[in-house]
């Protein structure tokens, strides 16, 4: 194991998260099992107080955890300067067997934590706190996801060896390697782009039809196809290299950190689209979230579409 200021920062924060999240978890269990909104016993009043305390703790943990994902990605990118063979965060992720599961877990948690924040905000809008039990039940699940993430993250940092040569992104995201990813990357761009733009058109359609359930499902499909097309097709135009399929290099200065922008926009757009399918918002709030989702998804589509078109206009050929 080696320590860099970024790893130390993440480790200290993780320790704090474990301590506070465990306090909140114990309280959450009690609330899920014993809370009764109509009871007026001292235990119930004590539980109410604990619910405010726990909700505040959880909210602040998640408020920090969400932007911390960007810092984590930055840390991976930074570590690529230390690990031999790594050209970007992709090499760091593949340096241990924990890297890829950790990344998927972190992305999942990002949505779960953000969802908890929205659920909590919605719950606090009403005097009778209609989602109180649900939000603490969700936290009980999120707690295990958080702990799992922290454990896997520790294993990943522990497992890194600066004396071992790791793969660069060119090898990991190659279309010729024998992986599922390579098979996806080998799919015809026409098929991938048809699905990508097709799903987006459906998103727009169901935005106008205001069918929140189908719109939410489409957002889940959209985030997946958006990531696949970014790696398989659009990324190559950002790099202006037909064989460069890395989802991490676009986080680097050479590409104006465009990756951070793209990923954040994609997250906001799909998250707000997804959340309206689960929480029963008031009409005004629902409309607002529909609008935010479509706006960000549209910006994403416009931005990724810009790169191949700009390339074609500049060079007169497609990659």
């Amino acid at each position: 194991m080696f320590l860099t200021p970024e790893i130390i920062t993440l480790s200290i924060l993780n320790l704090l998260f474990v301590v506070f999240a465990t306090i909140a978890f114990i309280n959450s269990l009690k609330i899920v099992l014993k809370y009764d909104a109509n009871a007026t016993s001292s235990y119930q009043y004590a539980l109410e107080k604990k619910s405010y305390l726990s909700a505040t703790i959880i909210k602040f943990i998640f408020y920090v955890k969400i932007p911390l994902f960007i810092f984590f990605v930055y840390t991976l990118d930074d570590l690529s300067n230390i690990l031999p063979g790594a050209m970007c965060a992709a090499g760091v992720v593949s340096a241990t067997s924990y890297g890829t599961p950790l990344l998927f877990l972190k992305i999942l948690n990002l949505y779960v934590f953000a969802f908890w924040i929205v659920l909590n905000d919605e719950d606090m809008k009403y005097e009778d706190q209609p989602y109180l039990k649900q939000k603490f039940l969700l936290f009980c699940v999120a707690y295990f996801l958080l702990i799992a993430e922290i454990i896997v993250e520790s294993f990943m940092f522990n497992g890194m060896d600066i004396n071992s040569v790791v793969d660069c992104c060119g090898a990991i995201f190659s279309t010729t390697s024998a992986t599922y990813l390579a098979e996806i990357l080998s799919l015809s761009p026409k098929i991938l782009l048809s699905i990508f733009y097709g799903v987006f058109i459906l998103l727009v359609l169901f935005y106008f039809l205001k069918n929140r359930y189908i719109y939410a499902v489409l957002n889940i499909v959209f985030v997946l196809i958006a990531l696949i097309t970014l790696i398989a097709f659009f990324g190559t135009y950002i790099y202006e290299q037909p064989t460069h399929h890395c989802p991490f290099c676009l986080l680097q200065r050479d590409y104006n950190y465009i990756g951070y922008f793209l990923y954040i926009i994609l997250f906001v757009g799909t998250f707000f689209g997804f959340v309206i399918g689960i929480i029963d918002f008031q009409a005004k709030e629902l409309r607002k979230r529909f609008n935010i989702s479509l706006l960000y998804n549209t910006i994403y589509v416009a931005l990724v579409t810009y790169y191949p078109i700009a390339y074609y206009l500049k060079n007169g050929v497609w990659l």
Binding site: A37, T40, S42, Y45, E48, Y52, E127
Partner: protein, 218 residues
Amino acid sequence: MIKLENVSKIYGKNIKALQDISLKFAEGELIILKGVSGSGKSTILSLIAGLSKPTFGEVIVDGKKISKLPDHFAASYRRDNIGIVFQKYNLIPELSVQENVLLPLFPLNLPREDMRQKAKKVLEMFSIEHKSSLMVRNLSGGEQQRVAISRANINDPKIILADEPTANLDEKLSREFIEILRELKSKNRTIVVATHDPLFFELDFVDKIVNIEHGKLL
């Protein structure tokens, strides 16, 4: 209608401020909570105001369970329904009379002119309008109390709570305050006064006197 049902309030581990109290006050009544210092009068006021929650039992105001409200809803309830006159007035000495009176209106985001009109009206009602631009620290005790009453009334609350309102006033000013209470009662406000001032106990317009000792009703 204000209802306290089997309310107990325990501070810390075993300081029993209230013990299994049940009370019912009708709209428009003037109620005097009588008792020595530490008997639990102020605790009752803070429970009705939603400033604190009981350890057991329930506080219900106009059908709403105040004691079960989340804190930010309790604040809204207080802002919309309750006017409080504190023993030491709790004014901000560095602000003018008008500014002090305007304070409860700021969260409402009303137009400035509407706010000024409301302040003018309430200061006139309690005969302190002529001092509206003066700093509160330059006023006498009686004047400060009029400012406190004006502030408590600026939102037109249904319920007025007064905690030892005459403790810092001489008899003349105390009688003036009582006349203000009479006027407020005539406007159908529900008024709960916590006091041990004998002046209140023989008033002809008091509806109920509640005796409290060691957190229990006598």
